[in-house]
Amino acid sequence: MTSIHQYRQVIWKEVRELRWFGLAGLVLLVLFPTIRLGIWLATHDGSLVYGSNEVRMSPPYAGHVFLLGAIYAALVALAAAGRDLRYGIAAPWRQTPIRPFTFLTIKWFVGLGIVLLPVVLAALLHLASGVMFDPEIKLLGANSGWSIRDGLQLLNSHLFLLIAAYAIAFACAAILRPLMSAMIVAGMGIGILYYLPLLVPALDFANIFTVMREPPMWVFADRESVRYFSGASKPIEMFGYWVVLPKMVGPFVLTMLGVTCVVAAVALRYAVRGRSVMMSPEGVAWTFGTVFLGLFSLAAVQVGNNIEPLDVLDVPDGEYQFINELHIRDSRALVALVGHRNCDTRTHPMRLLQMDQLNEADLAQRSGAIDVPARSHRSDTSNHLMWSADRPNIVFALDRRGSYDKQEKWQLRLLALRSYRINEDGSCHSLSNVNLTRLFDGVAEQGDSHHVKAVLRGDMIYVLRNRSKKGTMSHLLVFDARDPQALKLAKRHEIDQQFFRHFWASSSSSSGTMRLPNIPGLSQEARFDLLWNLGWRSRSRITDGKHIVDWDRKRGTTIYQRNEQTDDKWHYQRVGQRSLTALERSMLGDVMDAKLADGLLYLLTGHGHTNLFVFDLRDPTRPRKIGHFYPAGDDPISMALDGDRLYLSGKKIHVLDHAAMLTR
């Protein structure tokens, strides 16, 4: 009969064998970050927040665990399992009173303890140092700063990933021979675990990537901090704290925990029976290399770049500034640049360049000539420009200015319609300034700025302030812009409730109706044009009047065709749909700009990096994807179409051949 003493002996044997690993873990994950923290505190007045610019340091514990934790866990597991199992369980251990399964289980838990000891200690030190040295954090839960959130994340998500990494490596070392093969397989397995959706895009369906990379599995937070956790379920108040339990976490944790336990148990049983899998390290490496390149090739086929730009125009000082807006008509262009080399990150002066022919030389020579309003500290200004090639030297701007209040909520302070003249020497001066705040009877209502839009049509400028609340009126102001030095309010329409209304029963419905705004004196087409440019442009839809194209990550691209119309309503019927592959879906993020021209849909979208999707909708019943463009080294934010050329603008201007697309 096995005595407690014998168990204790085995436990101590394992602890002795792994003691250097434990020490290394303490040095890497606890001592090193502590020294780095100490150096920071010694050189920054003993605080994690330093100076008037609020240079901030998060305690380095979480970073060390994230960078090195999985490597450390895998090495401990390989050492723990590989030592006595190099050629199956060593014969002496089969003759001891302790059963082999118990022996391996003790190995498993001692190794796990060695892994968890420094990680948990690092997490606790992370939390403690955040509370002690971050002046904005008074008490855990009272005001959760980033350091607290990092620490909590370290305690749950990183911890779970570490345990999973440990389990994978232990299982590999228990059944694979020689140890080199186990190391390679474990390394690849852990890589897949950490970067699952990159290698197995199909699993992105389950949104595992989101849960793994931003996984507050359980989070104690205060009311103000809850908004940081996207995808979280409704917080529950417990003992004065808010507990946030993201919806995905339950099934995800249970599934991964179950898989981990089953894999470990099977591996242990396999090893106990003295069986092992012989794999040549070279064979394993070749297999993984082939699989990796195969998956990479698959990705290249699905979302690889198959469009070559005709030209790429560099913006001077492209590292510091980008093109905020590009307007081009009949080769004449207006370029709005934001930022410059010595730009304070909190101010965004905008510079306007007008050129008869868009070219790199003019971009380089004439940039830096004009400054259009810089903004004050911690305010937020956006200028929506309106420009016509008929009067290329005149620019109108809807100027929105606001600032953040003490609760970090953005408030609109000023709304104005301005006009500028660009002179021959490249300089720019203001012509007129109309204060819209007064005309709209104040705009201080929160979120109002998103509902104020303007569009230039001929000599008229339409400015809409949309109101969605019941019992309120939307305002449409029409300005006569024939004389840019004196913008005159020509008409003022009040529209019951909100300006743009549509009747799509649900996002998956097969038909829908759009109500045109009631504006006397305008044709249906003109009203539809206003409806689109003043309202729907911000939504995930685009239209040419006859068709409405709608897109999202789940359903892909859906095409609706107008089949019936009355004076104030246009009815649409769904005629086609094109789903996205898993990899395409992972690359389709926020749509920054869209163009629909000659039956082709250009979607400028980004999920980390910007991509251009090109869909052929000329046969709306059978839409197909005909192109994908990755503007490497750049993240364009807008598009402009002029004749046969499509221009993508960001840090550079990428010129694509629209005519060539039509031949695909």
Binding site: A24, L28, F32, I35, R36, I39, W40, T43, P60, L68, I71, L75, L78, G82, L179, M180, M183, E282, A285, W286, G289, T290, F292, L293, F296, S297, A299, A300, V303, G304, N305, Y630, A632, G633
Partner: protein
């Protein structure tokens, strides 16, 4: 009276024999490196899924760090694990020569995939997205790092009885270097001094990359290369001395 006439092979014959043996053992690893690193660069550049600079950085990480680390593990440790090291040491050639041939073939083994990647990069992309000085800086960085990781891991692991232990030493070298650089970066406010210290370390060669943005790139690179020649020569001398003493193996 008859007797066997023993003709000792010349040193060049021994080198040829050793080279043949090493190349026979290494060809598969070299082919694997060419396949994975070259394939990654070719697909990455042709599909343009990621920026060319990201492909280059991926090449630096895989070809300058991971592949040399894996290659360094079996150079001597595999001979020890299989017991063939004693046979090698009984050959009519000095121990240092055996190790020199092993080292030379290993260095060629880690450099060939990088040269292939360079050729692919030149053929498919050139300087279309990456400035010439960045392009060459990244390649030289990858080459220097590959040789450094290989030599540090192999030389410090010369006494280890199996590949796994050598791998541990390689991981310790890489992680230790990164940690040391973190400390130095935190502790020293003088950026030039941080770069100067980084240039001595096996994986802290990013000082070269920073220098590539200035006109002093060539002189900086030569200075860094000279420092590494000194460090690696000392390391290799230590390894050759240890290699000739098989009785002092650990484990």
């Amino acid at each position: 009276m008859t007797g066997a006439i023993h003709i000792a092979p010349s040193r060049w014959q021994m080198i040829a024999v050793l080279l043949r043996k090493e190349l026979h053992e290494w060809w598969s690893a070299i082919a694997l490196g060419c396949f994975t690193i070259g394939g990654f660069v070719a697909i990455g550049l042709q599909s343009r899924l990621i920026p060319d600079e990201a492909v280059l950085i991926g090449m630096v990480i895989s070809g300058g760090l991971i592949f040399p680390l894996i290659c360094a593990m079996p150079v001597v440790a595999a001979e020890r694990a299989e017991g063939s090291v004693n046979l090698l040491l009984r050959l009519p050639a000095p121990a240092w020569l055996v190790l020199a041939v092993k080292t030379a073939v290993a260095v060629v083994g880690v450099i060939v995939p990088l040269l292939l990647a360079l050729a692919i990069m030149g053929a498919l992309a050139g300087y279309r997205e990456v400035r010439p000085n960045i392009f060459w800086a990244l390649f030289l960085l990858a080459g220097l790092m590959a040789v450094n990781v290989l030599m540090w891991t192999m030389c410090l692991g010369i006494r280890q009885p199996n590949e796994a232990r050598v791998g541990l030493i390689g991981a310790a070298v890489c992680i230790g270097t990164v940690m040391t650089m973190f400390f130095i970066d935190d502790a020293l406010s003088n950026e030039q001094m941080v770069k100067a210290i980084a240039a001595w370390t096996p994986v802290g060669l990013f000082a070269v990359l920073d220098g590539s943005r200035s006109e002093e790139f060539v002189s900086l690179l030569l200075g860094v290369a000279a420092r590494h020649v000194v460090v690696l020569s000392l390391l290799w001398a230590y390894a050759a001395w240890r290699f000739s003493q098989p009785g002092r193996t650990r484990g």
